[in-house]
Symmetry: C2
Subunit: 341 residues, 2 copies
């Protein structure tokens, strides 16, 4: 085992222990005296997945305070806060997308109706701010709330561009920067703030998180078009069904010519219609995938994500000293483009 | 003109001027660089109604700092925050209730779909916390977030009791205390905190706001059953349609005997069914109103509200010195039970 691997495994062990504590803080914050509330909140906790956002908070803290042996309470709390914000967005996203499956299980909206899902999302976001205010830092509260403002803007921009077959790459990137990357950026930014980093380093860390977040969303969009639903564990094909144009599709529309483009646009229109049957949808999705593969549009999107990941890594290398935690963050960025779920 | 009236009109004038500033802070906070976001946010601003919650913040500040001639920036900001929280709950409530009309206009969900309404509500609540964190007081952020936690619990408790024809008065009061009264309580509590009140006075003010909030919701529920839709300006009859038992109905079910009770329960069940026609619903609602009138159930609810208002007023009289602002708060409590909209 190389020295680097051994250091890396130390980071991983500390992260694993920290994530257990984050899960405990998360569950504790959500506890209510009402059984009906606890039941819903417990269901939501099955949505814990890769815990990317808490890991960004925790690994950033390790990277900027390499001399500190244990993660402080304030970073653990911040990690629980960002996971709670993320989970609130998942719950409301599933309402927006009519999704039936999440993390290999039924969604709240599918099980209990949209109304319970809307309220559960509100409950989660409210508790996220409540927990955040326990940190006693108005600056951190302000950063988290600014990120959620931006996430909502991204969602609204996406919503106003549903069925917009002329969506440009520029608007696509604006949407995903806001709806996904702003929260990833703030994970690192908040962690840096709590560690008292100087502005230049804090900005570089925010940039790393944000750039990684953009790459993450591109891959999410690729998986929605071409992933294996059993592996990914959530309803796929939702972007096509909801008329959301993502990077591979934008590329394919631009790359096709003449009759090919007309055929693709026709497929996309038909796929986003309310009355399309499940069989027809599967058939259409297969044909869209063929066009994407033939035009190398999936590769195009994956390469964009890979080049963003390189940029994110460079920002870290230029601004942080070489530590095992920094190596971990670099590896985390790579894993974003390699992931199959 | 009596001295009291002249003092009262001075309070009213200052409040009117303050509310203009609150509206300005509100609009400024919501401004985005995205046109699609501004368009929705502007629509939501048509929902400004009685501005009860900002008035609670502002009049409380005047009552506890009678020597201060102008309302401070922090109280104006807090007033904008509570109005924004309230508006977020209205927008999501309308989704939960499938409501089509609010403040004499179409609801967001009716105009733009549930998805835009869910996101707009999220945008409003996010900005409420963002604005709140600009106050630089973690205590205030914590109080506001605690109130929104409680509001969500109330909504979830109500949701889990839909179609529960055996709902007790106790659970009804638990629901409305959480979903409505907690925010009214915190309006006064936050104002007292910002004014540096001692705990006993702050608690009394919270209690005043909370008790007034309970009375307010009882009257809201009476109006939903027996109000005039054109006057109230929002979709009425929603509680019946959504299987929500409110105080007059709980009283009527308890007061009826034998066949009368069976008939009423039958009506309520039929009214809360998905497929009921508009004509049938109007007919049913008319028959429910007859039962409520015959059993004096509307009077019973109004009397409960009136006695709560008396209790709220007593709390103020015992804890605040006699000022024009205190008189205004006492009058505000009275207006809650007198209102027709």
């Amino acid at each position: 085992m190389s020295v680097l691997t051994s250091q890396d495994s130390t980071v991983r062990q500390r992260l694993d222990a920290d994530l257990v504590e984050v899960g405990r803080l998360f569950a504790e914050e959500l506890k209510s005296d009402l059984a009906c509330v606890n039941e819903l909140a417990e269901h939501a906790q099955r949505y814990h997945g890769k815990m990317l956002r808490p890991m960004l908070v925790l690994a950033t803290a390790m990277a900027v305070e390499p001399g500190r042996e244990r993660t402080g309470r304030e970073h653990l709390t911040a990690a629980a806060v960002v996971e709670m914000v993320h989970m609130a967005t998942l719950v409301h996203d599933d309402v927006l997308d009519d999704a039936r499956m999440r993390r290999q299980g039924a969604t709240i909206n599918h099980l209990q109706g949209n109304e319970a899902a809307v309220m559960l999302g509100d409950y989660l976001i409210s508790h996220a701010y409540h927990l955040c205010s326990s940190l006693g830092s108005s600056a951190v509260s302000r950063m988290v709330a600014h990120a959620t403002n931006t996430v909502c803007e991204g969602e609204l921009l996406q919503l106003s561009n549903r069925h917009a077959l002329g969506l440009t790459e520029q608007t696509y990137f604006e949407i995903i920067k806001r709806k996904t990357a702003s929260l990833c950026g703030v994970c690192c930014g908040v962690s840096a703030e709590l560690s008292g980093c100087e502005k230049k380093v804090a900005d570089a860390l925010y940039g790393y998180g944000e750039t990684l977040g953009i790459a993450f969303q591109i891959i999410d969009d690729v998986l929605d078009l071409a992933g294996d639903q059993a592996t990914v564990g959530k309803t796929l094909g939702q972007d096509l069904a909801k008329g959301k144009l993502t990077l591979p599709l934008i590329h394919a529309i631009g790359a096709c010519e003449g009759g090919g483009r007309e055929a693709l646009l026709g497929l996309l229109k038909s796929q986003a219609q309310a009355g399309v049957s499940a069989e027809q949808a599967r058939d259409n999705a297969g044909r869209v995938r063929e066009v994407l593969t033939a035009g190398k549009s999936l590769d195009y999107a994956r390469e964009k994500a890979a080049s963003l990941v390189q940029r994110a890594k460079l920002g870290l290398i230029e601004n942080l000293e070489e530590t095992a935690a920094r190596a971990y963050l670099l590896g985390l960025a790579d894993s974003v483009v390699m992931r199959k779920l």
